[in-house]
């Protein structure tokens, strides 16, 4: 109990102290959150009329970001598998970073759904027993279950590991291995369920395809690990946690193969839509070429196509992928490319034309952009906080026995009241 209190105390100390760069970073994010909060209050006060959404396009930037981020959350599994199943020590060293990204991404998902709700005050209607949870019929109810479960798994397993290390104990594989296995299956499920959220709609032929689930997974395992590559290099630079280049090489390979599969599946879809276009191809035609004079999404989707194609070319050639600058450029392009393809390029055209044929161009408003940026800022804050506590524990500089020996926090001398068992830090 004492140890737990000390754990949170030391964690909080880590979060509330740091270099000026860290402070500026957190304050900057805080400012973005504040700005978004003001815009959200406008949405509450005036109604969702302040968004670009309408009866025609009834989901927009919020759900687009949500969909993308479920993929990012699921992608942590691509570190969990090599770390715990194949026992790659270099990956094990940084797997907590992946899980931190997953936590931040799931929280962002939940926030994006919440700001999209017309009546956030009634969110308790979703709580089983208290409200009326329409499970298992509603796919949205499924999504609530899988996302909350995934958040719980990604909080408990890393917590167990970190708390063990903090106390100077080696985490017992037998304790957390079942959790890891469940988390792996669960990661696949969150994105499959999110795909089913869309593909279950007979009213929306653009989404009503069996390939949507596999495509969601392929794009998730592209953009998520690509984001992880960028994050790891940043962490390597600004913290004392050093990331081995073998880690980057493995993740880069995962990104490459996933992007190849993703583009193949996209091609399969395009073939079906364009070889012999039917009424059901109307959304795809609207997306790629415009339809009846409506073409708001055309520049977006071709940008995505260009980004993804250049990225896959760089990644596929071994020599280019090996060059860090090129790899980073490719990862950035894949992240943005998938964000467009799965956000604006997937959610919006599903609504156009409407089920009774109306054409409509959706453009997000300032409020939607501001609120979305704020949620991204919250996600970055969560990730920063988690990484800030996890990294020194992982490195052994922050422990119950050893006190706080990190460079960021003020050094405390002497032993604490009840010294715990002292083990050398691992790795």
């Amino acid at each position: 109990m004492m140890q737990l209190a000390r754990f949170f105390y030391d964690g909080a100390r880590q979060v509330f102290s740091g270099s000026w760069l860290y402070r500026v970073w957190m304050l900057g994010l805080g400012a973005v959150v504040l700005m978004g909060g003001l815009m959200y209050s406008q949405q509450l006060e005036q109604g969702m009329i302040v968004t670009g959404m309408s009866d025609q396009v009834s989901w927009g930037a919020y759900i687009a970001n949500f969909t993308y981020l479920v993929g990012v959350a699921a992608a942590a599994v691509m570190l969990v598998i090599p770390a715990y199943i194949f026992n790659r020590q270099d990956i094990k060293h940084i797997v907590l970073i992946g899980e931190g990204i997953a936590v931040a991404a799931v929280v962002m998902c939940m926030l994006f759904v919440t700001v999209d709700l017309g009546r956030p005050d009634r969110i308790w209607h979703l709580i089983p027993l208290l409200g009326r949870f329409h499970f298992p019929q509603s796919m949205l109810a499924w999504d609530v279950v899988v996302l909350s479960g995934y958040l719980l798994l990604n909080l408990t397993i890393p917590f167990y590991i970190l708390f063990s290390r903090y106390r100077g104990k080696e985490p017992d594989l037998r304790v957390y291995f079942p959790g890891v296995i469940i988390a792996i299956a669960w990661a696949i499920s969150i994105h499959t369920v999110t795909a089913f959220l869309f593909s279950s709609n007979v009213a929306r032929p653009f989404w009503h395809t069996a390939v949507l689930g596999p495509r969601f997974l392929a794009s998730a395992f592209t953009s998520g690990p690509a984001l992880i590559i960028l994050a790891l290099q940043l962490i390597d630079r600004v913290t004392e946690l050093k990331v081995s280049s073998t880690v980057i090489d493995l993740i880069a390979l995962i990104v490459t193969i996933s992007l190849q599969i993703n583009l193949f599946l996209l091609g399969v879809e395009l073939f079906t839509d364009f070889y012999f276009p039917t009424e059901h191809s109307a959304s795809a035609i609207y997306l790629y070429t415009g339809l009846h004079g409506f073409n708001a999404l055309v520049p977006w989707i071709w940008s995505a196509a260009a980004l993804n194609l250049v990225a896959v070319s760089i990644l596929t050639v071994h020599r280019w992928r090996g060059k860090r600058a090129l790899l980073n450029a490719a990862c950035l392009m894949a992240v943005v490319g998938v964000w467009i393809e799965k956000g604006m390029g997937l959610i919006i055209p599903g609504f156009v034309p409407t089920p009774i044929g109306e054409m409509f161009d959706y453009v997000p408003t300032q409020v939607e952009i501001g609120v979305s940026l704020a949620i991204w800022a919250i996600g970055l804050m969560i990730f920063t906080v988690l990484a800030r506590v996890a990294i020194p524990i992982e490195l052994g500089t922050l422990s119950y026995a050893g006190g706080d020996r990190t460079s960021g926090a003020a050094r405390r001398s002497g032993a604490r009241g009840t010294p715990g068992p002292h083990h050398p830090p691992m790795h």
Binding site: G47, G118, S138, I356
Partner: protein, 317 residues
């Protein structure tokens, strides 16, 4: 009876929270969160019952879970709110489905001339927001020879209809026997009643709009802003599950005028149709007009291939 309940629920809670009432700005923010407009929030500062009603609304249970007394209390709150906001005496009915009745609708497209009296009558009857122009019925104008909905015009304006070379297709909620909207709702805020009518508990809807995504007929509509109806245009004869005034940011859709049909009347759109294109009735009654149409005319249903089993038939002479 209604009165008793209303005084009871206004009682102690309102008085104990009186101190809170003075903090108008805080209340305004809270009220905005609870979906009450700033006008109502200011109203709440002046009027005790408004705040008590706000809390009553917040903790209100699902329609099907409420006891008859709780339903009456909810109705009393709605009536008080209408009085406060519009100054009208509202009657909120709660008639259950009639025994042995399943409603169906048929529309003769060779008779429809696109005058859209049905649309006007529907808006007058159902208290939809005038401001945001929520219309349950959309009449599509199309060129003869094809039925490509993406080429149809749902916003045609013409001095005289029918225009040469055009035909008209009104589309509204089909009251599907297998409704995708009901399946989609994560909180069971929408369900199919025993008379086959799909209804929404406006007080339970969380506004996620998943039902809107699921509906193949574009029949569901969302209150993107605060619904506005001029007080003198409010239809005061309402039903809990249909025409009562709506809150912002919840879903709504046609109920085939259940506030009328459950009392043996015809839907407003049918009564307004000048060409007699619309037939409504009990599908379980072998002698009804609707049964006659289904059994003797050439009928079709929109998007029958989706398996939604619409209870809205189109037919020709």
């Amino acid at each position: 009876m209604t009165e008793d309940v209303s005084t009871a629920s206004t009682g102690a809670a309102a008085i104990s929270r009186r101190s809170l009432l003075r903090k108008g700005s805080v209340l305004g923010a809270v009220a905005a969160f609870f979906g009450v407009g700033s006008a109502a929030a200011q109203e709440a500062v002046k009027d005790d019952s408004a705040l008590a009603d706000m809390w009553g609304d917040f903790f209100q249970q699902h329609y099907k879970k409420m006891s008859p007394e709780e339903v009456q209390a909810a109705i009393a709150r709605i009536e008080r709110k209408a009085k406060r906001e519009y100054g009208v005496e509202l009657t909120v009915g709660n008639e259950p489905p009639l025994e042995g009745v399943v409603f169906g609708y048929a529309l003769n497209i060779s008779k429809c001339k696109g005058v859209r009296r049905c649309v006007e009558a529907c808006m007058a009857e159902n208290n939809q927001s005038r401001d945001s122009q929520i219309q349950y019925i959309r009449v599509l104008e199309m060129d003869y020879g094809r039925m490509d909905l993406t080429l149809a015009d749902g916003y045609y304006s013409a001095e005289a209809v029918p225009r040469p070379g055009k035909f008209y297709l009104p589309i509204q909620c089909m009251q599907c026997e297998n409704p995708p909207c009901v399946k989609a709702c994560p909180v069971e805020a929408t369900w199919k009643e025993a008379d086959g009518i799909v209804v929404i508990d406006y007080n339970w809807c969380i506004g996620c709009r998943y039902c809107m995504t699921a509906c193949p007929y574009w029949a569901r509509h969302f209150n993107w802003n605060r619904p506005k109806v001029p007080a003198e245009e409010i239809n005061t004869d309402t039903h809990y599950l249909s025409t009562r005034p709506r809150a912002k940011r919840v879903m709504e859709q046609s109920t085939f005028c259940l506030q009328r049909t459950r009392k043996g009347r015809q839907p407003a759109c049918l009564e307004a149709c000048p060409t007699g294109a619309r037939i409504f009735g009990n599908l379980l009654d072998p002698n009804s007009d609707i049964r006659y149409v289904i059994e003797n005319k050439t009928v079709f249903r929109l998007k029958e291939d989706l398996g939604t089993e619409p209870k809205f038939w189109y037919y020709t002479d």
